[in-house]
């Protein structure tokens, strides 16, 4: 329930009759302004409201994180000054922002769009017009393009895309316009809690020493796969024919070892609850190599404890350095 608005004492008593209307600021035409209803930001889509809400002491502050940044838009926190304040937010679910790089799985092909499942309450939409055509020409999408959507992405394909904006019902609008976005093949997809992946400048990581692509999706989907040389999409059709003649085109065993090690490192770190960064994942994988831990045993108790201890030591050192600087 909303708290009642603060009562202002009115010496004249309640106003009688209709209040005089203010002069029209734009005499030529009426400018439609969205009413700023109390507690709701004008541009905030309604669908997002139940997800993030906190009682601000003066009303319900709507989830304005997507629009407000900086000091005012910090994450919901407990405010001890406002009595009766509490925080209600969902940690595990992904909290989308415009410009996020996410990894999703196609679940449905709808007219002129693909619906992707990302770790969110609603499915995201990738419009056909937001996707590069196979021949790379910028043109209007015709009915033939619409019929050939399946040749670009099929059901259950893993796709990397960028958040373009929100739709009116709160679901996400995606785009995959540049060459580095698109279908992900030859690798494995992991799921971790979304809050473990922080927003950084780079989410695509090409690890040259392993020849592996590592994509940390902000929604908690992590892709570890063979490195794909960014090239014309027309070549992908040859790849698909090659996939059918399987045995010759399996991922080479060395690359596969690196992929499995990195994937296990990511699984281990998410089980420990550490924030996932490329440096930490690579560091954990290299620690496992130097400690002669088998890839499979990386998920075992000994390496688990070893990693936790290593991280505790590192944080202790960091804290010690900070203190000595201060």
């Amino acid at each position: 329930e909303r708290p009642p608005p603060p009562a202002e004492p009115d010496p004249e008593g309640p106003p009688r009759g209709r209040a005089p209307r203010a002069p029209d600021p734009c005499p030529r035409g009426r400018v439609r302004r969205r009413r700023h209803r109390r507690g709701q930001h004008p541009r905030q889509p309604r669908g997002q409201h139940p997800q993030r809400a906190w009682y601000d002491g003066s009303g319900w502050g709507g989830g304005g994180d997507a629009v407000r940044r900086g000091g005012a838009g910090q994450q919901a926190r407990l405010r001890e000054d406002a009595p009766g304040s509490f925080v209600l937010f969902d940690l595990i679910r992904y909290k989308p922002e415009v410009g996020d790089i996410i990894v999703g799985r196609v679940i449905e092909i709808a007219p002129k769009r693909w619906r992707l499942e990302i770790n969110f309450s609603q499915d995201a939409v990738l419009m056909l017009s937001s996707m590069n055509l196979p021949d790379g020409i910028q043109r209007r999408r015709t009915a033939v393009d619409e019929l050939n959507m399946r040749s670009i992405f099929e059901e259950n394909d893993v796709v990397c895309a960028e958040v373009r904006g929100f739709q009116h019902d709160g679901s996400l609008h995606l785009q995959a316009r540049s060459q580095k976005y698109g279908k992900l093949q030859r690798g494995q997809l992991l799921t971790v809690p979304a809050y473990l992946v922080k927003r950084r400048k780079l989410h695509f990581h090409h690890l040259e020493q392993y020849d592996v692509d590592l994509i940390l999706g902000c929604n908690g989907f992590i892709w570890v796969g063979e490195h794909v040389v960014v090239r014309e999409i027309a070549d992908l059709k040859e790849d698909e024919q090659k996939l059918s003649a399987e045995a010759e085109t399996f991922t080479p065993i060395e690359t596969r070892r690196h992929i499995c090690r990195l994937a296990n490192a990511a699984r281990l770190l998410s089980a420990l609850g550490f924030t996932l960064t490329v440096e930490l994942i690579i560091q954990t994988a290299e620690a496992s190599v130097s400690s002669n831990v088998e890839i499979n045993d990386m998920l075992g108790a000994e390496f688990y404890v070893q990693t936790a201890e290593g991280e505790a030591k590192r944080r202790g050192d960091l804290l010690g350095k900070k203190r000595s600087i201060q």
């Binding site: 099929e154 070892r257 000994e302 688990y304």
Partner: protein, 329 residues
Amino acid sequence: LISGDLNLDSTLPSKLPPPPVFRSSAAPPPQGSPASRRARDDTMVGLSEGEKHFIRGGIAQDLRADGRRRLQFRALTVETGIIPQANGSARVRMGATEVIASVKAELGKPTILHPDKGKVSIYVDCSPTAAPMFEGRGSEELSAELSVGLQRCLLGGKSGAGAAIDLSSLIVVEGKACWDLYIDGLVVSSDGNLLDALAAAIKVALSDTGIPKVNVSLNNETDGEPEVDISDEEFLQFDTSGVPVIITLTKVGKHYIVDATSEEESQMSSAVSVSVNSHGQICGLTKRGGAGLDPSVIFDMISVAKNVSQRFYTLLESAFAAAEAVADE
């Protein structure tokens, strides 16, 4: 390895290849890896062609998605006595698969055909927490399949001969009173290899079971029913050395894997579950999946399962010993 696939036009070799060499993996009971799949509204999560290709390649190259070899098990954890009201219970975790088995004993009347034997019934249920499709009646087919598979392995023939548990030890008064054992399995979290996990859980639960001792007073037989006095103090433990475990071999492409995750199971052409006891004898055999298998392939799978079961027994025993140590503390 020989493949029974029909689309191979090469001739089959004349003798079976030798069984593969195993690495010993004496892993201590560790944390299970977090589940990397998520449940959807209607079916299990799908996999893209690229991911399927990756899984098949991993199995062909002997390096699966989480780094295991083809014949290596996931981390196995065991807890006993988790259901205090039951006579025996156990929870088994293999990676992300988690199952609970409970054994309850009640006094009943033996059947007229076998007045000197007790009764055992096994039933498996899949909880909706494992997958949304298990809600309501969605899990009936899978539960029935698992129950029947376990019954075939553990209960022996119609006359009760060859059962894993000695049914004559369940008798209280011949012809009048016997113990009925109700073994219930619950699938809490499903990530493949349910049959193996359930069989292991039942074996551990039976080891944990204590049947109360009964004192029968024979003088009061006016109504034909002898008086039985169930003691709360003394308990009889079962001898579970004869209880077998089940090893499921999943065939993907030309190779077999043990302890498949649900992603790997989605790629299987067929799966053979072999129930082996500690003496190396086969107690039951189930084949799932539509693809046909050459008989030599089945024999090869049986011999591989026998070899693997030795390792599984040691794994299970060390996990059980660890669980007992924790329980004693």
